[in-house]
């Protein structure tokens, strides 16, 4: 989300889910929405099927939304920048862009124009494999729409060029005056239910809650005062994708992990496990004994969402209540109580009567949450920024001006993924989620129905590749990359494009992240889960 913050001044979804039904054009790129965000997909499908809006899908896989689309561009994995640059080249050359908007609300347009000039549709066709005529058509549809919304997800961010991918989408949206209007925007869909909230709350190495930089002395002073401490660390911490490798170099000696399972979800999971074994102290707090928990010195049983009060913030910045429905299971305790107990034992008393008391403190130190209260949330969620109690919440961002003032165009060139197919590893591998499973599977694999529909890891491959390798659906396949190998059943599917296989990452016994490349985007530190080179053979 670093990309959007650089372009607009805020990394959050600019517009709201409900607006998707009222936009004129929806461009879905790098998001398998129907499986990963089904209820948002319902809105998109309603727009396309029932309200006659234009849907453009850009995806190497023939995902479910394709059958609702007016246009489907099937690009070679990892070539999104070339494709979108070419769309912008067309839009500028045909003068379809919003000149007044570009002049008044943005900066650095000339640099963009210069860079995209060479991405003629014919040039981009060579890189992306998408016919030039389709690129031109997509450009025209998006540019001519009164309000156009771009929807993306991990298919854009999980690349070594993820940040640049996002900036490129921001470029396209600004070029057509689509940011700061109803039904427009650049809309990253967050994977897990409270990713947005965890970011908002300062669960990041560089900011306190509300994206207040830890490097700014004024912020540190304010927070130190609110928290009653002398001083706060002024350096930017490590991301989790940097912390794990740092362990073997002695950079990290103790980790306290709340509700995460890096032994399964980390790219290059084998290395993550070896690293965590070298820690002097590993504390894992979770509702189940996860693969990571098994490595820990202490495992603390946490209560699930149904056993506690609190709030979650969804992908459209909407803060909604979580309400306790049942008593904590066993001796489990809500995470907040456990953290308080540890703090008390470390000599810093945390005595909150309940989650509402914590939320009152959050409001006090977090300007974008200041106007939200449990009382107001009784009548439904509120979207931040919500600076005061009278404020109705913000449905779409950047109206009239960008969070950072002017929106910035970034001139960006195409770069190949960190690992490209070669003679030894001739296929692309991309990873992702299934409708019926969720993340590392610790929750979804314990729900009978979900497991009935998606019981095991499948390797999805195209009929062409199946013929080439003599594979039938149901055959055991050995899948190998430079980092590791797994064995799983083959599933021949028309969703797959020749030359690319797809593996979901929910299954510990065939962990796709044993295969993926830990190469990181230099800015966001997001690993390249979406492309690496792979070989397959019948097991």
């Amino acid at each position: 989300m670093a990309g959007l913050a650089a372009s607009f001044g805020s990394g959050a979804m600019t517009n709201s889910i409900g607006e998707l039904e009222n936009t004129d054009c929806i461009l879905v790129i790098g998001s398998n929405t129907n499986e990963n965000h089904p209820v948002i997909a319902a809105r998109i499908k309603r727009a396309a099927r029932l309200k006659n809006k234009d849907l453009i899908v850009i995806d190497p896989r023939k995902q479910d939304l394709v059958k609702f689309s007016r246009l489907w561009l099937r690009q070679v994995p990892g070539t999104d920048i070339a494709l979108v640059n070419a769309m912008m080249q067309v839009i500028i050359a045909e003068k379809l862009y919003d000149e007044a908007y570009v002049t008044e609300r943005t900066e650095n347009f000339e640099a963009l124009k210069e860079t995209v000039a060479k991405y003629t549709p014919e040039y981009a066709e060579k890189i992306t494999g998408v016919p030039a005529a389709q690129i031109i058509e997509a450009a025209r549809i998006y540019a001519k729409a009164k309000a156009g919304s771009i929807v993306y997800c991990m298919g854009i961010t999980q690349h070594t060029v993820g940040t640049d991918n996002v900036k490129t989408l921001a470029n396209l949206a600004m070029l057509c005056g689509n940011v700061g209007i109803e039904g427009g925007g650049v809309n990253p869909l967050r994977g897990q239910n409270n990713v947005q909230g965890a970011c908002d709350m300062g669960g990041l190495p560089n900011v306190f809650s509300g994206y207040q930089a830890v490097t700014d002395p004024a912020n540190r002073e304010k927070m130190a005062k609110a928290w009653g401490v002398e001083n706060l660390p002024d350096w930017v911490g490590m991301t989790m994708t940097d912390m794990l490798p740092a362990i073997s170099k002695g950079g990290i000696k103790a980790l306290y992990i709340m509700g995460e399972n890096p032994a399964l979800t980390d790219p290059d999971a084998d290395h993550a496990i070896k690293a965590m074994q070298q820690l002097e102290l590993l504390v894992v707090q979770d509702i189940f004994l996860t693969e990571t928990g098994k490595l820990a010195d202490v495992v603390l049983p946490a209560s699930s969402f149904a056993e506690k009060d609190g709030t979650f913030s969804n992908t459209e910045r909407r803060v909604s209540r979580v309400r306790q429905a049942i008593h904590p299971v066993g001796q489990s305790r809500p995470d907040w109580q456990i953290v308080c107990e540890i703090s008390n034992r470390l000599g810093y008393p945390m005595n909150y009567a309940n989650p509402e008391a914590i939320f009152e403190e959050i409001r006090l130190v977090t300007p974008s949450y200041a106007g939200i209260s449990y009382k107001r949330l009784e009548s439904g969620g509120l979207q931040w920024p919500c600076p005061n109690e009278e404020h109705p919440g913000t449905v779409y961002l950047h109206k009239d001006w960008f969070a950072k003032g002017k929106g910035t165009f970034f001139a960006i060139d195409h770069k190949d993924p960190a690992e490209m197919p070669d003679a030894e590893y001739p296929l692309y591998l991309t990873t992702g989620r299934l409708l019926y499973q969720y993340h590392s599977g610790t929750m979804s694999r314990r729900a009978v129905g979900l497991t009935e529909k998606a019981p095991e890891c499948l390797v999805e491959l195209s009929p062409e590749d199946a013929a080439k390798y003599g594979v039938a659906s149901g055959d055991q396949l050995r899948v190998r990359t430079r980092r590791g190998q797994i064995t799983a059943k083959a599933h021949i599917s028309h969703k797959a494009v020749a030359g690319t296989i797809f593996i979901p990452f929910h299954f510990a016994e065939a962990s796709a992240n044993k295969l993926t490349n830990a190469a990181l985007d230099p800015v966001s530190k997001i690993p390249e889960y979406k492309v690496c080179a792979v070989q397959i053979e019948k097991a």
Binding site: K45, R190, P233, Y438
Partner: protein
């Protein structure tokens, strides 16, 4: 420009062009027009004829849900003539199935039952014989289809096709043999159904059931808790139905952002909460290389605090990291980063936003 008006039960009321009589009535506080086939946000089919009202100068009664309001209309929503018509609809509907509320899951939350009670229509004597065979499907772990209760209102089909746009079911076998079918009349599990459960939530009677909630008590024995889905970032609002400390089922709440919709995870994915695998006590590995053993909270918490202190003193706070969680609440993530920054003194704080 003066607003369009019409006469509704003797009151002159304004309405928006394009509104149906039902919408006009509801927007003016009249919620007593009974409906069965009407489903919000979908095409009005006007098929059940339950919502008949009298419109002056119209020859026949008109379905309120499918009749667009016109300026100057004079509408009666209740009258003896309307009562007769509505009773007739109920008798026909009840006679076409096997309605035995004693053992029906929907008892207490069934729209047909509520209307039969309101209009005092008993199961008609000309109903199908009790041994009539109806389609019954129970071969998947999530949804049961019991068509002895189906009234062919078509709400499930419109919920599936228009609210979720999953296009998995349709009305098959036109004529008197018609039936709701999934892909060439297959069971759901062998069809395009993605188990979002919209059809179950749309069904006004007990023909489509959440299997996990069957025989788990009557609706009036449960209470509902409005909360937020723990799976993906859409943040759907869910009403959890709880009985005796157990989650019986999950229904989509009519609130933003989902307005009643859920996907298979939010609807049928709650089994993890009370799964036997849940961690019930703290576990502690007293020596490196030893086994994880059950411990008391005090032992575990004292251990964590003592070891954190030790590492901090020996190596410095910058050797300690704390991970927030994309599944914890805002309050919990806030406290975790506060603990790390204010108490330990480290900014190595992160969570898996990137994964």
């Amino acid at each position: 420009m003066s607003k369009a008006t019409l006469n509704l039960d003797g009151m002159t009321v304004e309405f928006q062009p394009g509104q149906t009589i039902l919408e006009v009535a509801r927007s003016h506080g009249i919620f007593t027009i009974p409906t069965l086939c009407f489903l919000k946000d979908t095409t009005a089919t006007g098929s059940c004829r339950m919502c008949m009202v009298e419109v002056e100068k119209a020859r026949t009664l008109l379905p309120a849900c499918a009749t667009v309001a016109a300026p100057g209309m004079a509408i009666k929503t209740e009258s003896p003539r309307i009562d007769v018509a509505r009773k007739m609809v109920l008798e026909l509907v009840l006679s076409s199935g096997n309605h035995n509320c004693l053992v029906c899951e929907a008892n207490g939350e069934c729209e047909l039952q509520a209307l039969a009670y309101r209009y005092q229509v008993p199961t008609p004597s000309f109903a199908n014989p009790p041994d009539t065979k109806y389609y019954y499907e129970s071969d998947n772990s999530m949804i049961v289809r019991d068509f002895s209760k189906c009234i062919m209102c078509g709400r499930c089909v419109r919920g599936c096709n228009e609210r979720q746009v999953n296009q998995a079911i349709s009305i098959g076998y036109r004529g008197s043999h018609n039936k709701i079918v999934a892909k060439a009349d297959n069971p759901y599990i062998n069809s395009d159904c993605v188990f979002c459960g919209e059809c179950v939530q749309s069904c006004p009677v007990g023909a489509l059931l959440d299997k996990n909630s069957m025989h788990q008590g009557r609706s009036w024995e449960r209470h509902q808790v409005r909360t937020t889905c723990p799976y993906c970032g859409v943040g759907c609002q869910i009403d959890l139905h709880v009985k005796g400390g157990h989650i019986v089922k999950a229904m989509g709440a009519h609130a933003l952002p989902n307005e009643g919709r859920l996907c298979v995870k939010g609807r049928f994915g709650m089994g993890f909460v009370q799964h036997p695998d849940r961690l019930k006590t703290p576990l502690l590995r007293k020596k490196k290389g030893g086994e994880l053993e059950e411990a008391t909270w005090d032992e575990a918490l004292d251990f964590v605090a003592a070891r954190l202190k030790e590492v901090k003193e020996k190596h410095g706070p910058e050797k300690i990291g704390g991970w927030c969680s994309a599944r914890a609440t805002n309050e919990e993530d806030y406290l975790m980063q506060k603990l790390m920054r204010a108490v330990i003194g480290t900014n190595h704080v992160d969570h898996c936003a990137r994964l």
